[in-house]
Amino acid sequence: MTTAHDAPEHSGFRLSQLIYDTRYRSLTIQVVVFFLVMAFVGWLVDNTIQNLNALGKDFNFGFLWQRAGYDIGNALIPYNNDMTHGRAMLVGLVNTLWISFLGCVAATILGVVVGVLRLSKNWLVARMMTIYVEVFRNIPLLLWILVAIALLTEVAPSPNAYKINPETGEAKLSMVFESIAFTNRYTAIPSIHFDRSLGVIDTAFMPISLNVLAIAVVLGLCFWINKRLLAHAGRVQEATGKRPTTWWKSALILVVPTLALLIALGFNPDEPVLKGFNFTGGTNVSNSFVALWAGLSLYTAAFIAEIVRAGILAISKGQTEAAYALGLRPNRTMNLVILPQALRVIIPPLISQYLNLTKNSSLAIAVGYLELRGTLGGITLNQTGRELEAITLMMLLYLAISLTISGVMNVYNNRVKLKER
């Protein structure tokens, strides 16, 4: 056995190594790609600069500090037309977040109900839910939003209908619970009023009501105590095997202190009253908001329903059977075995639906609800003619929202990942 081979001499670095050597090759490719991409980006930027020059424009966010001059129907933070475009953008952003949040909540509730009902043994209900899911999934969201606003404006009465006829002393329509009025322009609901208010702190962003703050603190405390109670029940169970009944204690703890505080503050709802053309006193939730909300929730719920259904189906029958065979009751099986597993399957796609819903909230354009796209990407853009700046800023804001949501999702996914070999 002779060694038939001499080791090749290690000569110095050769240029061909850039292409043929695995160590340098990827470096070469990356450098080339990097320069290509940079050249492309540079080309775009150069074009943009030239075009801006040709039009005599510049790239300047100064417009954000100029007077906006337009009104926004439902601003959640204080706003009037004397404030700046920047403030208007903020109002839009808050509105985007608000509609997205409410949309996600409603879509989740509806989606879970529909998803579970689709699995129901009830033939009729299961079929109806299937129809709901298929119809909503396969027709563009835009149509649902347009239908929602059209239904609201055509079916609901105008505020006039609630006007009390001075002769008969009666109105054509009376308000629900004397405090809620559905109209074809908004839904008038009572707002909160405190007789013995603690006052309001004014911050630059938005005024913070001390009353609300106090209630939030008390509620938080109650939840904490309740958690302690449940933990205690758990310990008792660990020690004796018997779990003390807690539901009525929980109910008491959660309700009584808050109620007491509300009474102390002299809480009473400020009911809307019809004055002139419109209701005043309460809060008017505009129909464009309701339509967008309904459209987004109904549409997204159809997708969520499918996710929930798939999630429950994904937990194999074997898990249920094993739990039954151990003597666990169906509801315990659901809570202890099926749900914890189904949630892992459900939550990631669920969150990406939340993302979709948030992005789809930009369809507010169809109903004239002024959110981020409507303010910054709509009226502000139009009044100032700053397309480049406004759209860039708007995209970055949306991107920030998206990345935050998907960041949360990743953290969650990593937390609950099933341990495998």
């Binding site: 990356q30 009830n122 109806m128 396969n138 992005k359 796209r373 397309e387 759209i391």
Partner: protein
């Protein structure tokens, strides 16, 4: 081992039992009703609620549908007919608007005498995707698939036949160069092919097309894209976007899988950026910003610009779908290709991508459904999509001002039928793939 007891139970059956029918009460309509609708108070409650809901819908909308008027020249006439037939205050649908304007819902402003062209294009689409999607279509037909996009462009936009042919020639050239140079390494071949093709498209196509057209004027009547509207626009944007985004999506997916940091980063940034913003903002980029990014003086029409952004948008989604397909391939396939001495590009082209793309087809179909629905958003940049653009301008006609629900119902129904069919088909494909899979 055996004790007395066990022995005593020895038993042999000498006559086998025939299956018996299930006992009464275990079958029949009553049982079905009991099991499926009334098997408990909760179920019964649900059934009642369900029936009430159905009743609500039927009672509210049935008369509107049934009182529909099909023949009228304006909304006012419709109203008159309905009042005459069903009495004062009766409501009814005015389907006459659909009858009068159906062609605009479908074709936009495409010349009426040329409707055969989009229709033919649409039918040929099935021939083109047939070999990929349907098992019973002869696989040989696959040669038609790469030709189809050029044919479709030519049929839809018309004009000289030489333009599309020369663009296709560019691909052929690229292929030839790739095969020639490819022997010195795939990357070299790839780059050389791409450069030749791009140079040819940039400097060769239009003069050559001019010369060829002068010599052999083959062509059909050109149609400008401003005439596209309705479902023709939606399908052109959706299908065109998906087709054009496929190569880009595949490249992005490979980039995202790559272990080269920079390439991976660029891919991820692009994909996440596109997926992180609403389509509407991208459409605004198409309509408001794209011209800023291009050299001064360049000008595409808005449909083309929207198409570019739609392509980028769907590329990001396709990339994720293809990535799923790539991830689903067992590692062994890569290793076997390596062990046989295939380099990265050959392995991708011959082994990995054919399989990964096949697995991705259902995902691509779903992406297409999403795209197709989203094309309605182009209404907001002034294009005539079937859902808002077309109805809005029909309402700008005096005769149909105020018509609202009928277009929704009509357009919604078409969307539903197309998308439902596609989603069912993609589910079927998915099942078939699962069965076929080794």
């Amino acid at each position: 081992m055996s004790d007395t007891h066990a022995e005593s139970v020895a038993y042999v059956r000498d006559t086998m039992l025939k299956p018996q029918p299930a006992p009464a009460g275990e079958s029949g309509a009553i049982r079905w009703l009991r099991e499926n609708l009334f098997s408990g108070w909760l179920n019964t409650l649900l059934t009642v609620l369900g029936v009430l809901t159905i009743y609500f819908f039927v009672s509210h909308f049935a008369s509107w549908f049934l009182h529909g008027v099909w023949k009228a020249d304006s909304l006012a006439e419709c109203r008159k007919i309905i009042t005459a037939e069903y009495g004062q205050g009766a409501t009814g649908a005015c389907w006459a608007v659909i009858r009068d304007r159906w062609h605009q819902f479908i074709f936009g402003f495409y010349q009426r005498e040329l409707y055969w062209r989009p229709v033919l294009t649409f039918l040929l689409l099935f021939v083109a995707v047939g070999p990929v999607l349907f098992q019973w279509v002869p696989k040989k037909l696959i040669w038609f698939t790469p030709i189809y996009p050029f044919l479709a462009v030519w049929l839809l936009w018309g004009g000289s036949v030489w333009g599309p042919i020369l663009v296709a020639v560019g691909f052929v050239l690229a292929w030839i160069v790739f095969s020639l140079v490819g022997r010195y390494g795939s990357i070299a071949g790839f780059s050389a092919g791409a450069i030749v093709a791009i140079l040819f498209w940039m400097f060769g196509v239009s003069p050559l097309a001019g010369i060829l057209h002068a010599a052999i004027p083959l062509g059909i009547e050109p149609v400008e894209s401003a005439k596209f509207g309705g479902f023709l626009l939606a399908i052109t944007l959706g299908a065109g976007g998906i087709v054009m985004s496929l190569p880009l999506g595949v490249v992005l997916a490979l980039g995202r899988q790559s272990d080269m940091f920079l390439i991976k980063t660029f891919s991820v940034v692009f994909i996440e950026f596109i997926r992180g913003v609403p389509l509407i903002t991208l459409l605004f980029v198409a309509s408001l910003l794209l011209n800023y990014f291009l050299p001064p003086g360049t000008n595409f029409d808005i449909i083309l610009r929207v198409m570019i952004l739609v392509t980028m948008f769907s590329a990001a989604y396709i990339a994720e779908v293809v990535r799923g397909g790539l991830a689903a391939l067992p590692r062994g396939q890569y290793e076997a290709a390596d062990a046989l001495g295939l380099d990265y590009w050959k392995a991708q082209r011959l082994i990995i991508l054919p399989q990964a793309l096949k697995i991705s087809i259902p995902g691509i179909v779903s992406t297409f459904i999403g795209m197709f629905k989203d094309t309605t958003l182009v209404a907001f940049v002034g294009l005539f999509d079937p859902l808002k653009g077309i109805p809005d301008f029909i309402r700008a006609d005096f005769a149909w001002k105020g018509i609202y629900w009928e277009p929704f119902v009509f357009v919604g129904a078409i969307f539903f039928i197309l998308n439902f069919a596609m989603s069912r088909y993609s589910m079927h494909l998915e099942n078939r793939l699962q069965r076929d899979h080794r």
